[in-house]
Amino acid sequence: MTPRGRTGFITLFLLPATALYALFVVIPVVQAFAFSLYRWRGISANRSFIGLENFHHLFNDPLVWRALSHNLLLFIGTSAVILTVSLALAHALGAESALARFLRSVYLFPQVVSLVVVAILWMFILNPSFGILNATLKAVGLERWAIAWLGEKSTALASIGVAHVWHALGFYIMLFAAALRTIPPDVMEAATLDGVTGLARVRYVTLPMLWAVLRIALVYMAIGTMNIFSLVFLMTQGGPDRATEVMLTYLYEQAFKHSEFGYATALAVVNFVLVMALSGAILALFRHNPQEGRA
């Protein structure tokens, strides 16, 4: 095949996918940027151009900042937990024991459960009256700790974080377990021979060799927590008194409850930019692999 024919051939095969992607992703995103410049109730074709007013309003809206801070708190809190726990579990799953084999077959369960089910499950666990958590606390004499987890301002966000971690963990265990398998056994062996074992081996050998995967995992976690919606919407509705409001629940409220589709679209645009920026920042911040630095 001539080079030109080859290009044509490739173009031909790329065309359907590109067209679909343009139709369902690129065009809506571009449209969103346009809609964010309008006042629009989202219930008729009427809309009036108001320039950057939505964005001006947005930056002066204390609730946006509050929602955003909840997203960031969730990101920092849940990613710290997910990283530690999933790395530890992925490591442990490499072992050849009956328990490890059993765990390998169950760790993905939460991941395949629908988020709606996850939310309902955790609402049952956290239920102040018949929930298993408070029942356990009461059984061991910790009545004072048995509170309305989703109804208290101080614990509602953390409770959602726990449900999110429970759901997301399996995916990251899988990711890290797969990455761990790519570390050549001779490297581990050499480290052991040199007397580097246990936590030191994790710190100086395993982690540096997982660097690229860790970086991607962090980006995934950032996207996951910046775009969190279903869990919050189902478990607390953003309450009590906005204590768990996140960007997307606030966006939903503006669009579907307050009929402020223009403003909601501006929120979506800002969220889009923020997710891109955060992902970019993570990639830049963790660009340097300490392993390469030493080489």
Binding site: R41, I43, S44, S129, A148, G151, T236, P240, D241, R242
Partner: protein, 446 residues
């Protein structure tokens, strides 16, 4: 290669055949009969009654075809239909739809001309006078009627009848009776009152508004709805907030209720761990699948202040209206079908089939299920009817009232801070030129 080509040819030709057949079908359907599309919210009462009514109407009107469809999130599907200018002919979009936005955007028609015509199957009288006037009032804006009620719900408190009878307790009518009773219930190790904390709207309609009306009279609430400056922090609102705060401080609310969703709190009530709960008349049908056999629930109005200024018979109601889209294709047919659905016979059938009150006058002569007999009596005896219209008119204000109520019931803010928050939210709405304003005048529809 030949085989593959042959297979492709077969697949392609069968695809084309299917397309042709379906196009053909569509053509015959649109050219022949008159077709009506009715989109309904599928809530606790389902849509089977409307489907049945459609079949009956079709039989009476040969050549008419009515398609009734619906689901529990129908409002989300209706929005793009309205934007595209392709709405259904008649719709009951449900509580999730911003009804007034449809009115402001001219997407639904004023119905007064039809309301002044005779009702279904009659040649005299008006359709308007078949509706309960206090409910029709809620559907008006700038003197025109844009929506129509169907069933309606009453708001109040439910109590565990067997528990009350067994202990010799009487439903409390006044604040002092309530406090005395709560003390007795608490002594039995039962939570006196539970509530749906995750959805503070229940506490707003079950505690706050009734006590505002009891303390300051219906004017205190009407003024607040009409955004009169200072109305949301009037002494009546402060008093109501103090009453809620007092119940919390005395420990009369079920522990953990602030973390319960509606089904959670309602389960507490029907399982006997709490004696009373604020809820609308839909409670029975919402919980029917989990109700213990022989469970008896009694309905009462929220207890009023002993020396209050309000009408003690005042009752809160809520409607979920129907409307006729401006760009519907069969306006006259839609109206006539809705006239049929609101005829007295159909209204009575709805009461009996679904166990709810209806906005059609005279439908209270139907056979009510046991749990509705008390609410019906309460409604007949009510001299004042109120509805939280501000929630529909001013969604942001409604949300802030609910958030502040959650904070008050959790003890995060004082009653004084509570009313300040409400007034600030009302002021923000008042000063927002982009929010169309409503004025509610009582007795307008009569």
């Amino acid at each position: 290669m030949k085989r593959i080509l042959l297979a492709l040819l077969v697949v392609a030709s069968s695809g084309i055949a299917v397309l042709m057949v379906s196009c053909g079908r569509q053509q015959t359907a649109t050219s022949g009969a008159k077709e009506l599309e009715v989109a309904c919210f599928k809530g606790g009462y389902g849509i089977d009654f409307f489907e049945q009514a459609a079949r009956e109407y079709e039989q009476q009107h040969p050549g008419v075809k009515i398609k009734v469809w619906g689901n529990p999130r129908v409002w989300e599907q209706l929005r793009p239909r309205f934007v595209a200018g392709n709405p259904p002919d008649l719709t009951y979009p449900g509580w999730g739809m911003d009804h007034w936005a449809l009115v402001y955007e001219g997407q639904v028609i004023p119905l007064d001309e039809y309301l002044d015509s005779p009702p279904h199957g009659k040649t005299e009288g008006t359709w308007r006078e078949t509706f309960e006037p206090s409910l029709l009032e809620l559907c008006q804006y700038q003197g025109k009627t844009y929506m129509l009620p169907y069933f309606f719900s009453m708001l109040g408190w439910w109590y565990n009848k067997d528990m009350f009878e067994k202990n010799g307790w009487k439903p409390p009518r006044t604040w002092s009776e309530l406090l005395a009773l709560c003390e007795k219930i608490k002594a039995k190790g039962i939570a006196p009152i539970t509530y749906q904390g995750i959805y503070p709207a229940y506490a707003v309609s079950g505690f706050l508004i009734p006590w505002v009306i009891s303390a300051g009279g219906i004017e205190a609430f009407d003024n607040a709805q009409n955004l009169v400056p200072g109305a949301w922090k009037s002494p009546a609102f402060l008093k109501a907030a103090q009453m809620m705060d007092e119940l919390r401080r005395r420990g009369y609310f079920q522990e953990g209720a602030n973390g319960m969703d509606h089904t959670g709190a309602q389960m507490e009530f029907i399982s006997g761990r709490a004696a009373m709960i604020p809820c609308g008349t839909w409670l029975h049908s919402e919980m029917r699948n989990v109700l213990p056999p022989n469970f008896r629930m009694g309905f009462m109005l929220p207890p009023v202040l002993d020396d209050g200024n309000g009408d003690p018979s005042a009752v809160g109601i809520g409607i979920e209206p129907w409307m006729v889209p401006t760009k519907g294709k069969n306006r006259e047919l839609a109206i006539d079908f809705y006239k049929y659905m609101t005829s007295l016979d159909k209204a009575k059938q709805f009461v009996e089939a679904k166990g709810t009150l209806m906005s059609i006058r005279g439908s209270d002569q139907a056979n009510f299920p046991e749990h509705l007999k008390e609410p019906v009596e309460v409604f007949r005896g009510a001299k004042t009817v109120w509805s939280q219209e501000y929630r529909q008119w001013y969604q942001k204000l409604g949300k802030e009232v609910e958030d502040a109520t959650a904070a008050l019931l959790a003890g995060n803010i004082t009653p004084e801070q509570f009313v300040e928050r409400l007034e600030r939210a009302a002021e923000a709405t008042r000063n927002d030129r982009n929010i169309p304003k409503h004025t509610y005048t009582r007795g307008q529809a009569r």
